[in-house]
Amino acid sequence: MTADTTTPRKTPVRAGAGGVTARPPRRRPASPARRSGWTPWLYLLPALVLLGGLLVYPIYQLGLISFLEYTQAQVSGGEPTTFQGFGNYATLFGDSQFWQVLLATVVFAAACVVATLVTGCALAVLLTRIRAVPRLALMLAALGAWATPAITGSTVWVFLFDPDFGPVNKVLGLGDFSWTYGRWSAFALVLLEVLWCSFPFVMVTVYAGIRAIPTEVLEAASLDGASQWRIWRSVMAPMLRPILIVVTIQSVIWDFKVFTQIYVMTNGGGIAGQNLVLNVYAYQKAFASSQYSLGSAIGVVMLVILLAVTLVYLRLVRRQGEEL
């Protein structure tokens, strides 16, 4: 990782030209770095305008709506909006379905993250141990799964597990067992699809990381008689720590926000909402039953949880002494 952790964070000018001072060039009286005043902000302007208008402002509005009474009547302008205080949150937290969905979301995301990481890391190690042809085959298959749009991936998996026409039930001899009927089997099916499309990112990233480890280190370990598991645990994993943190956090974020797979595969949240996760729950509350303020309150809850995850991530990064 970056070695220059000693750089004081508040150096006013970085001498953009590599710290060479003196010798003022003739045609440019002030060195570029010293004139930098507004330049970075100019570069940042388009990004900040877009993010301000389409991310920060909507978040503010999301928070605002969650404190208002906002249903179809207010949208069409038939009734004035009224301030509810924490009324929407009280409704939400008093609803047992919310807690059920929250629990399902956390458990489901955790299962997805663990499955993705274990599969991705194991296959990354496998990739380092085989010759070019099988490696290319696995790499291409993984890229194919990665590239598949979530919506088509979801439909194909539903079809594979279709009780009437799918090959999986045929091979497993399950007859006309419906995977989407039961709560757990439906979640398991979605988990398989999520695993299928998200392990490639972990595999490719970790593989790229392993390739960056000097071969001597790994050879020395294997000559010393270390098993593959031991090499992973004692040599690779510690050296890959920064990469592992990145892929873990990315997976947590993605899996916590799973939307398309649940929405498509369980047809909007399953029978009687048995397969709802927070993201789909918020959407259904807002757009299916026009309770925009309740939907927004769920969105705020998700935002708070993910912010907490971010803080943990930042602490981990900081503890490594990495400079942002």
Binding site: Y57, L126, R129, A145, P149, D164, F165, F287
Partner: protein, 282 residues
């Protein structure tokens, strides 16, 4: 120990590993194979309880149904326009922003970086509600702009975060040399830095392309009445019917939708792998 002995010692283990890799590769590729196969199967075979892994009478009927569907070409074009605009605009804007946060020191720099990180965590789907009202107030509902703008904004934080490593990797001595040779800052930016960072831009664009191409939530929520502005995922949903799904049509439409992403991936594959390594290693 010589390399030959090492090889001999490892051979049985390696063969087993290679066999495992091939089996896994086949399993991972199977859903895609089944998708393409089903798209080519004649109607009778798809809705049959036999579920054979091959077909003796490939047919283009399903594809014909997809392409003859009202305005399918239009949907495809709309998807291309949206994804293309987002990819190009987000690469340029993220490049400028990444340069600002890596090549300059200024007040609030660290704060901004943390904001970019936090912005990646925001559940985009939750923002559908306020964005819907925003688009309505600006008269953007039912336009491609309502899809381009949010996707552009949401792809930026990750793109900036990822490009940082690439911009950082360009030695500062190069910048210094350029200025000494009399290059202006703009010239350095576009003629020296930009080509050097280009591989990173490619790796980054994969992510913005995928998230935009795949989106069906915004398309479903913001394009509510003017179907000529719809994108591909909507064309796919047409084949889902309450009584009996048209699986042939679904699989053919899925194939058509997946192919461009696959092509894009294969094209940038090598840069993607090195790009990911570069981004996480800094």
């Amino acid at each position: 120990m010589s390399a030959r002995t090492l090889l001999r010692v490892r051979r049985p283990g390696r063969l087993a590993a290679e066999a495992a890799a091939l089996v896994i590769a086949a399993a991972v590729a199977f859903p895609l194979y089944w998708m393409v196969l089903s798209a080519f199967k004649p109607a009778g075979e798809i809705q049959s309880t036999e579920a054979r892994p091959w077909t003796l009478a490939p047919s283009l009927d399903s594809f014909r149904r997809v392409f003859e569907q009202q305005e399918f070409g239009r949907y495809f074009l709309n998807s291309l326009v949206v994804a293309g605009t987002v990819v190009i605009a987000s690469a340029l804007i993220a490049f400028l922003a990444a340069t600002a946060v890596t090549r300059f020191r200024f007040r609030f720099r660290t704060t901004l970086l943390i904001m970019f990180l936090v912005a990646q965590m925001v559940p985009v789907e939750a923002l559908t509600i306020p964005l819907f009202f925003l688009m309505r107030d600006f008269g953007q509902l039912n336009t491609l702009g309502s899809l381009i703008l949010p996707h552009l904004a949401f792809s930026l934080p990750f793109a900036i975060w990822m490009l940082r490593g690439f911009v950082k990797a360009v030695p500062e001595a190069l910048e210094e040399a350029a200025y000494i040779d009399g290059a202006s800052r703009t010239r350095f930016l576009w003629q020296i830095l930009f080509p050097l960072v280009f591989p990173g831009l490619v790796a980054t664009s994969v992510f913005s392309f995928i998230s935009t191409w795949n989106d069906f939530l915004f398309a479903k929520s913001f394009i509510i009445s003017d179907t000529s502005q719809s994108t591909l995922p909507m064309a796919l949903l047409v084949f889902f019917k309450p009584d009996e799904n048209d699986w042939g049509g679904i699989m053919a439409a899925s194939t058509v939708m997946t192919v461009p992403v696959l092509v894009f991936f294969v094209l940038v594959q090598r840069r993607l792998v090195s790009g990911l390594g570069g981004a996480v290693k800094d």
